[in-house]
């Protein structure tokens, strides 16, 4: 094990190397670039045996990854914002073909106007497709979860691709001390590449021609959903396995901070969960018992774990760094859907904030938390389910 100070992007590069990825294909976009630059450096220095396909667009980047993965190898790409939007068609193709692959998304807002700062519109736009989506809070988590994703996506119960999301600049370009596991540890953790089929010469296997039976096609779509639901237990299992090897357990699908006796919960995903932790400590100092429910996996959405975490609370504040325009924040939508259908009636409020990279810190969470407690105490419920802050 080595203790290094690394940016989130360099953590991704180290994880890709440690996972013995054989093919990487990418197209540059800020703030993803340093991932591929670092990988190129590792390849050029001879410290890893990997092919890099330096394509002419993001659509082609994921297409090349898809080709390499379909042909039998572990493959990886990384992108951001407009790049992700441009490859959107291929994001579908990979998932529906049931080909495991891993992609890092350095979350960045979408133009116009041109803007490189973080929000989660890019990654949230991929949530209906069939990719596993995890969001990291720290650089250590970026490294660990990227390695784990290879194991999760290649599990026969899953056989679906996966996304590691990390906030632009807050994680991607900020250094933190990180424990980088030895190659032998990762080798003992990651099995040989597994996938549902391989296209190879000499075997006339055809992927993707027109279906005769639309019910079979229907079941394929349903199967993608089921694969993601199966991923829940795989994610939990892999988290324990990794914890045993490295001492770092994250709680699997969700992580709770000071939840045990909490009256109120913050719920959210991504780097700002760190600010929520500080805010919870400050709120507790003034007698307001808050906790943080960190949604580590956006897909599969951890319904049961979320239900268990919020049951019995006086209220939940869900923070979304993106908005399904005309509706509400995507995490809020997922969370409330399940609570309603389970008959749980507690005040849940959505605060959409941090859009377009607008910076908010722990003081803001403290302020929002206080005002939420007032709102719930005075009205006995919430006066509006969706607020934009500020």
């Amino acid at each position: 094990m080595a203790r290094l100070t690394l940016t989130g992007n360099h953590c991704v590069a180290h994880a890709v190397k440690l996972a013995r990825v054989k093919v990487v294909s990418a197209y540059p976009i800020t703030p993803q670039t340093t991932i591929v630059e670092k990988i190129s450096e590792l390849v050029d220095s001879g410290s890893t045996n990997m092919k890099i396909i330096r394509v002419e667009s993001e659509h082609s980047a994921l297409a090349a990854v898809y080709g390499a993965a379909t042909a039998g190898l572990r493959a990886f790409t990384a992108t951001s914002s407009h790049g992700l939007l441009y490859m959107h068609e291929m994001v579908w193709w990979v998932a529906q073909a049931r080909i495991p692959a891993v992609m890092a998304i350095v979350t960045r807002t979408i133009g116009p106007p041109w803007n490189i700062w973080t929000d989660h519109h890019d990654v949230m736009g991929q949530r209906d497709i069939g990719w596993i989506i995890t969001m990291a809070e720290s650089n250590q988590e970026v490294l660990d979860e990227t390695i784990k994703l290879f194991k999760i996506t290649e599990d026969p119960e899953v056989f679906l691709p996966g996304i590691i999301g990390l906030d632009a600049f807050i994680l991607s370009h900020t250094v933190e001390p990180v424990e980088v596991p030895d190659q032998e540890i990762v080798d003992s953790f990651l099995p040989e590449r597994r996938q549902p089929y391989v296209i190879k010469s000499g075997e006339a296997l055809v992927m993707g021609n027109v279906p005769s039976d639309l019910l079979v096609n229907f079941r394929m779509r349903e199967g993608v959903h089921r694969g993601l639901r199966n991923a829940e237990k795989v994610i939990e299992r892999v988290d324990l396995e990794w914890g045993k090897l490295t001492g770092r357990h994250y709680g699997g699908l969700v992580e709770c901070y000071r939840c045990e006796d909490a009256d109120y919960l913050f719920a959210g995903a991504g780097a700002w969960v760190g600010d929520m932790r500080i805010a919870v400590d400050k709120l507790r100092d003034i007698g307001l018992r808050f906790g943080v429910l960190k949604i580590r996996y956006i897909r599969p959405f951890p319904y049961s774990r979320v239900f268990e975490a919020v049951r019995g609370r006086k209220g939940v504040l869900v923070f979304d760094r993106s908005i399904s325009a005309g509706s509400a924040g995507p995490i809020f939508l997922d969370l409330t859907t399940h609570l309603y259908s389970s008959g749980l009636r507690i005040p849940v409020k959505n605060v959409v904030t941090g859009l377009a990279g607008f910076d908010i810190g722990y003081e803001d969470f403290v302020k929002i938390g206080k005002s939420f407690v007032n709102e719930v105490s005075e009205s006995g419920w919430i006066t509006s389910f969706l607020d934009f802050y500020p």
């Binding site: 054989k22 093919v23 294909s25 092919k51 396909i53 330096r54 394509v55 002419e56 667009s57 659509h59 082609s60 980047a61 297409a63 090349a64 990854v65 898809y66 080709g67 390499a68 993965a69 379909t70 042909a71 039998g72 190898l73 493959a75 068609e89 291929m90 193709w93 296209i199 190879k200 010469s201 000499g202 075997e203 006339a204 296997l205 055809v206 992927m207 993707g208 021609n209 027109v210 279906p211 005769s212 039976d213 079979v216």
Partner: protein
Amino acid sequence: MPLTIRDLAKEKYVLPGHAACPGCPETIGLRYVGMALGRKAILVIPAGCTSIIQGLMPGSGLAFPIINVAFASADAVASGVAAAKEVLGEDSVVTVWAGDGATADIGFATLSGAAERNENIIHICVDNEAYMNTGIQRSSLTPIGAWTTTTWKGKTEPKKNMPLIMASHGVPYVATASIAYPMDFIEKLKKAASIRGFKYIHLHAPCPVGWRFDPSETVEMARLAIETGIWVLMEVEGGRTTISPPSRPYADKSRRKPVIEYLKRQGRFRELSDELVRELEREIDEYWKLLLKLSS
């Protein structure tokens, strides 16, 4: 020794009862791909007629390993497959089988990128000169004057010269072919398979449905294109341009049939004015002059 029918593999890669229209040039071409590349071929097929020709899952009328892919992605997918096969040490010929749309229009940036990177793949453009699968809409490879369902009075722009555009990428091998000259096409495919790097073969494929002629005339129409000189069989290898044997006689303008003999047999050119016919004759002549200069 030129190839003879006796030399050709008899194994069927295009199976009877596939979903192509009667007289389809694409299945003729795919048979030759099978004869030339055999079991080493892996086909990457973007959206187009061949997406449908394969017939319905869980069966396939084509007996190749095939990855069907999104319209604009084929050469990038093939790049990934070729990279993986090299790592795995698998002896395969990764081949993109794409129509004129997936080659010259929506897929052009992807194709150009793969060519510039000199990926070890073959791109075959099976050119039926319009978007046939969606119902005969114009493409950038539709010739000037041709009726399509989006050019009711005839297309007003000339056909884009893809072979020369690809040759300008400086790739190791560019060739043109025709479904009427199978031995020429098969030999070019075999040569392409033996060359490392990016190979582009542009296959002229007259479509009875879209060009409005009887399905029995597919091969005749392709042959007339050569005999009138409107389509020229050639190779650009290592920067050297060579006119292929079937087209060589037509370097001599006097031996070419008048282009009207080709045009008048196709319903899509019914409204063509005398002026446009003369324009086309002029263009053919100019193109031949250029090719002869390049090949001298």
